[in-house]
């Protein structure tokens, strides 16, 4: 997975994500967007799969956007044990959906995602609707290990996450972070908008006309790209990708 939150030169926050997973052909056919409504008004929107009731990508209009990237730690049985022994631990996708439904500010969303016990370690990437609202929350099962925030005033106008702790170097054989950063810096803060965020999410290594199959922003596992901007909720859209 790759998730990016960026602030453009006018102070608008943009959130782009590629969801990479196995079983691509299965998942691509069942990817949908869902507008969760009460009294005819959209309370929140998510990108999901037929049959899936949680959320790994979503937006609360005019408030915040959330994406989840897997964190390469531990083993499946640790997650299963956590689920069995810790009744307070939430499924990742349930916490995201509950946060979209119940948190009514960016800060409340950050608190819920940072400190609610979880079954699995993950990254939550959160974008707001106001200047400088953007963060990557590195989670273990109990709590947040780190909350890495955007700081445009200090030149950090975007934060991004693939699947490795941002303070560590990613593995050499899966360094999607570097090409993503390069693409963002080439685009520049003045060039950031929905279309350029989609372009960054579509970056793949090419040698002339030959597409190289090395891990990249857009790779074989990418099932969809979603682009959101909480301050402009109508922007939110999702595209199935067939790399």
């Amino acid at each position: 997975c790759t998730s990016i939150v960026a602030q453009d030169a006018k102070g608008t926050i943009w959130h782009g994500r590629n969801l990479d997973y196995g079983f691509g052909d299965f998942l691509r056919n069942i990817t949908v967007m869902l507008d969760f409504q009460t009294k005819g008004q959209t309370l929140y929107t998510s990108t999901s799969y037929l049959g899936y009731v949680g959320a790994l990508t979503g937006q609360r209009p005019n408030k915040f956007t959330i994406t989840v990237d897997e964190r390469d730690q531990g083993a499946w049985w640790m997650n299963a044990l956590e689920a069995l022994l810790n009744k307070k631990a939430s499924l990742v996708s349930f916490l995201v959906r509950e946060t979209l439904a119940e948190a009514d500010t960016y800060d409340v969303a950050i608190q819920r995602l940072a400190y609610t016990p979880l079954i699995a370690p993950v990254y939550f990437i959160v974008g707001g609707a106001n200047v400088a609202e953007g963060a990557v929350i590195t989670r273990d099962r109990e709590s947040a290990l780190d909350i890495w925030t955007m700081n445009p005033a200090q030149g950090r106008w975007f934060v991004l996450e693939t699947n490795y702790d941002h303070w560590e170097e990613p593995p050499a054989d899966d360094n999607r972070r570097m090409p993503t950063m390069k693409a963002m810096n080439t685009t520049g803060q003045a060039g950031i908008n929905a279309s350029s965020m989609f372009q960054v999410s579509s970056t793949r290594p090419q040698f002339g006309h030959v597409v190289l199959s090395v891990p990249h922003v857009l790779n074989k596992g990418t099932t969809y790209t979603a682009i959101m901007s909480a301050a402009q909720p109508q922007v939110y859209n999702t595209w199935v990708r067939w790399p």
Binding site: D35, Q37, G51, A83
Partner: protein, 101 residues
């Protein structure tokens, strides 16, 4: 082929079992169901260790005790309208957490 995905409304004022009915009853989705059933089985057999399956049976037998609302009711609703086995719907929903490591 990078096409925008289809979009559906989930009416949160309806009972959880009815939340995903509009999607399930879409002819485009109905057409996919047979393939979905097969793909879901493939995904589950290759993704979930066999040791876990008895756990899922326990979970499914008493879903409301283990999973919060509206999720338990929604999974039941999806199983009813797609004809996909409830246990498989549960596994598909747990798959991310089980594989997020």
């Amino acid at each position: 082929r990078d096409v925008p995905v289809k979009r559906y409304v989930v009416n949160l004022d309806a009972a959880p079992e009815e939340h995903f009915l509009p999607m399930c009853q879409d002819p485009d989705i109905l057409e996919l169901i047979p393939m979905l059933k097969k793909d879901a089985k493939d995904m589950i057999t290759s993704l979930v260790p066999e040791e876990v399956l008895p756990l899922v049976d326990i979970l499914t037998a008493d879903l409301d005790q283990y999973l919060p609302q509206p999720f338990a009711g929604e999974m039941r609703g999806i199983a009813n309208c797609t004809g996909i086995d409830l246990g498989e719907i549960v596994i598909l929903n747990l798959a991310y957490d089980l594989t997020a490591f």
